[in-house]
Amino acid sequence: MSEDLLKVRNLTKKFGTITALNNVSLEIKNNEMFALLGPSGCGKTTLLRIIAGFEYPDSGQVLINDSDLLSIPTRTRPVNLMFQSYALFPHMDIFSNISYGLTNTSFTKEEINNQTNEIIEKIGLGEHVKKKPNQLSGGQQQRVALARAIARKPKILLLDEPLSALDKKIRQEMQVELKRIQHEFGITFIIVTHDQDEAISLANRIAVFDKGEIKQISTPQELYENPTNEFVANFIGEGNILKATSTNFGFEHPCLGKVNISHSMGAGKSVTILIRPESIILSPATTGAGQITDAVFAGAKKNITIKLTTNEIVRVYADKSANLEVGSHVNLSFNPQDVRVF
């Protein structure tokens, strides 16, 4: 038995002429917090629904502990789903919602009650057991959805956009809470989200999807620092994407000059470069590489927008005390190590 809990192999799924998943493969380890991240329509939700059992792929395999998951009926898969809308049963009270999954097992009534009460205790819903879902706040409803989904002790909990409906303060609270519960119950979490902040703040590893394909699988930090393609560079964090020409030792850009980096893509090709806003240092100049078009106070820093002479827009995070006024000309410098070229 390998250390991978779930293996997805060459999964393809089409809806009519639309290819939702195109030959997707990935492995998820036991006890991981794994995120499927991508814009809407990228296929991440289709993969989630295939794992949950609501869709069936056209080809490919899904293995759980090296045995076939797809042949297990939806009802009995060792997988549960926390829906984006929570999908609580509005006519049942909180206790009945949470115990619902257990009533579909061979447990006795007493066992069901004990297990339900234990989960209610652990998730901190004790005072709400007799209420109906619409009497609870959004954050509380999410706790109920979470409790209901883990009540059957699944091997994998699927979470569909778990933080998207919550406001900022409760988001931060739930983020810590989800990690605590994952740790306490020892369940592998697969999170589907379109929001990079949600993925980065929750997951150990992230698979970035685009148009039914995986663009990169890695840790949040690695995706930010070493994206392997322009899509990931653009999607994760804020980045300046510029058009340049490759040289034998790096690249050349009209406003940034010749830059030597550790590897070359061969001379004379058109390349894309990525520089993060915090990697750029600005210096005033009488006629510089660009002109400041906007400078916005942002707490500990200033967000500077620069229009290069190539008409490209560059965003830079500067120190809040920096004397950078709208309209002034600046030159840009950076450490070549902080640049990525595709």
Binding site: G53, R75, T76, N80, A87, F89, H91, N104, R152
Partner: protein, 257 residues
């Protein structure tokens, strides 16, 4: 900035009075103690009391209630089944339109069709044929109401039930039907009142020995509008309004649970 005189309010009120005049006339004259319904003599419940001693009216009223109850039962059962079935089909747009279309078929055409059908299969006309006819008529309304409600339902709720290990029957009875309750109540009340008030179809598909209340009213009116007719009209009106208001209230309560 002084407030303008609200012209649109006045127009609206005048028009509403115009719309309600005929209905108010029926209700008002039903309390006339005169035996000539067009001459006002005084306010009283005289004709309401007289109605209870009129055997043909009372027995036709009982028949009407019986037909309405049985019709409601079958329309609800058939209409709900179709609605849930249509909802399961993804490409049901065409069938959807067709299942609610009988609601817009002219009564008269439906009545002719039913009469011809019953003649063809030699079914004798009596309350049984009225019930079949009213069920055809009311089912389309039940489907329209229940389908609209199913459309508002979060489809994830049924999926959640399956995800949590419930089979299709448990999901249907424990999750889907409780969700549809407001629509089922509204559909039942609508079927009941539609059947109660329905005249044209009943007239075509009923035998002469078992007239329903609207048929009795119709035969009475050939001799002019009598005080009894105003009383019966007011009663039919009251039942319709109470039904509709009840359906809205119960719907709201069921929604808020």
């Amino acid at each position: 900035m002084p407030k303008k005189i609200n012209l649109s309010l006045i127009i609206t009120l005048v028009v509403l009075v115009f719309l309600y005049l005929p209905i108010m006339t029926v209700v008002g004259l039903s309390f006339n103690t005169s035996s000539n319904s067009l001459i006002w003599k005084g306010f009283g419940f005289d004709w309401y009391q007289n109605i209870w001693t009129n055997e043909p009216i009372i027995s036709s009223f009982q028949r009407t209630i019986f037909v309405a109850l049985v019709t409601t039962f079958f329309s609800l059962l058939i209409g709900t089944t179709i609605s849930i079935g249509l909802n399961k089909m993804k490409a049901g747009g065409f069938l959807r339109t067709f299942s609610t279309a009988p609601a817009i078929v002219p009564d008269l055409v439906l009545a002719i069709g039913l009469l011809t059908t019953f003649s063809t299969i030699s079914l004798s006309l009596n309350l049984r044929t009225v019930i079949i006819s009213h069920t055809v008529f009311c089912t389309a309304f039940v489907v329209a109401i229940v389908l609209a409600r199913i459309g508002l339902m979060d489809p994830s709720i049924e999926e959640a039930s399956t995800d949590l290990g419930a089979g299709p029957f448990k999901t249907l009875f424990k999750v889907t039907i409780p969700q549809l309750m407001p629509a089922l109540i509204a559909g039942a009340v609508l079927s009941f009142t539609l059947s109660m008030d329905e005249f044209v179809i009943a007239f075509f598909t009923n035998g002469p020995e078992t007239p329903t209340l609207p048929m009795v009213i119709y035969s009475m009116i050939r001799f002019g509008v009598t005080p009894e007719i105003n009383v019966l009209g007011t009663l039919l009106l009251a039942i319709s309004f109470v039904g509709v208001i009840l359906a809205q209230r119960i719907g709201k309560v069921a929604d808020s649970i």
